[in-house]
């Protein structure tokens, strides 16, 4: 066989291999695309800065309340985690707190069966509180300017959080490509918020120890979780009077998942996924108690509510008034 023929055969083989490789790559692209299509994230919740019940976002089974999460928020020894993406709308003149997730007994008393996570903007602290009344409660916090290596990872110079530039729409710290931060707060089985019992993760990284090693405790926390104990649960406002939602512009929330377990750092890394949200109901071994994707198109409240992906029996998200969903997604 002459060199010319060998060359011709080799070229033909290479062409075939190339053709097969291209077909395989196309198939892989197709499969990848179908996976990506299976988790389309096109919208997020826009929590209006206009406050009160007529603009609130609450998780409701009936009458604006629910017992669904009592196994967690009604038992101080139950583990808990919440994972969500957030794009701050508040500015540096907020000078108060913005509630991210809040629970109370449905009354106008903030400390009645409280279970809440909020950003104390006046002091640049991410705070976590539980308790059943004014005399029995536990709180702790992370001062964001004490954890700058984590919160500013990936941030450009002008976006960095510091002791003079508190977390806000201007000083965002590190975000994903859509301007969202992934936050996860976890709690273990101790009945108070001692530092060893809680964790906060910012874009997949632990913030480190909360400020009070033993928690800042008043009395002894004993939450009530029996069936008769209805809870008001709010996203983006406090629960007792449904305000403290920020200023300037609406804060966006996406992929809110509430778990009845203490997620591990490995779980959180998986959920963060390098800044690309993925299905929180399938990517960790323990499914959430409820998962609110806020994928419903703008329009009627019924359409938005019905689009919420929830576990069987989980309460729907009631999105009222100026609060809505928006096409800016995490």
């Amino acid at each position: 066989m002459g060199i010319g023929k060998i060359s011709s055969l080799a070229a033909a083989s290479l062409a075939k291999v190339s053709s097969l490789a291209k077909a395989s790559i196309n198939k892989i692209d197709s499969v990848t695309a179908s996976f990506a299509a299976a988790f389309a994230n096109t919208r997020s919740l826009s929590k209006s800065i206009t406050t009160g019940s007529s603009n609130a976002v609450t998780l409701v089974s009936a009458d604006g309340l629910t017992q669904y999460f009592n196994s967690v928020v009604g038992d101080e020894t139950s583990p808990f985690s919440i994972s969500f993406w957030i794009k701050p709308g508040w500015d540096n003149n907020l000078n108060t707190n913005i509630h991210l997730f809040a629970v109370n007994d449905g009354s106008s008393t903030g400390r009645a069966q409280q279970y809440r996570i909020f950003f104390n903007e006046a002091n640049n602290r991410l705070e976590f509180r539980i308790g059943q009344n004014s005399n029995n409660r536990s709180l702790n916090f992370w001062a964001l300017h004490s954890h700058t290596s984590v919160v500013n990872a990936g941030a450009s110079g002008g976006d960095e959080i510091s002791s003079s530039n508190f977390w806000s729409s201007t000083y965002t710290g590190g975000t994903n490509s859509n301007g969202f931060i992934h936050l996860v707060i976890t709690k273990g089985t101790d009945g108070d918020l001692r530092a060893s019992n809680i964790n906060a993760y910012w874009n997949g990284q632990a913030l480190g120890s909360a400020f009070y090693a033993n928690g800042n405790n008043f009395g002894t926390v004993a939450l009530s979780g029996g069936g008769a104990h209805e809870k008001r649960i709010a996203i983006g406002s406090n629960a007792h009077n449904l305000d403290k939602s920020g200023n300037n512009s609406a804060t966006l929330y996406d992929e809110v998942a509430i778990f009845g377990v203490e997620l591990s750092s490995s779980n959180v890394t998986t959920l963060y996924n390098g800044g690309v949200p993925q299905d929180a109901s399938t990517v960790v071994e323990e499914q959430p108690l409820a998962y609110y994707r806020f994928e419903g198109a703008d329009g009627t409240q019924a359409a938005e509510i019905s689009s919420v992906l929830v576990a069987s029996g989980a309460p729907s998200a009631s999105i009222q008034g100026d609060s809505t969903t928006t096409t800016t997604a995490a």
Partner: protein, 86 residues
């Protein structure tokens, strides 16, 4: 406990160990404080924690950017920690 509004200059002279709450005004020129000390050089003195809270709701534009005010529980729980310098 005593509740005051003081200027930032006066605040700098106070014993921080006795201050349990501090909130800067939005323009950063004044401070609302809770302290066990008696402060004579003050802008305003409140009779109790409730009147202090109520004042911030009435005068929220100077103190709180979302149109609300400083709630009593914030005055009680947002502990001033001087080493955090916040």
């Amino acid at each position: 406990m005593n509740y005051y509004i003081v200027t930032s200059e006066v605040f700098d002279t106070l014993n921080k160990e006795n201050i349990t709450f501090m909130r800067k005004s939005i323009d950063r020129t004044q401070r609302i404080i809770a302290t066990s000390d008696t402060v004579s050089d003050r802008v305003r003195k409140f009779n109790n924690i409730n009147t202090c809270s109520n004042y911030t709701f009435t005068n929220h534009s100077s103190w709180v950017g979302d149109g609300t005010g400083i709630e009593v529980e914030e005055l009680e729980d947002n502990t001033y920690i001087s080493e955090l310098d916040d």
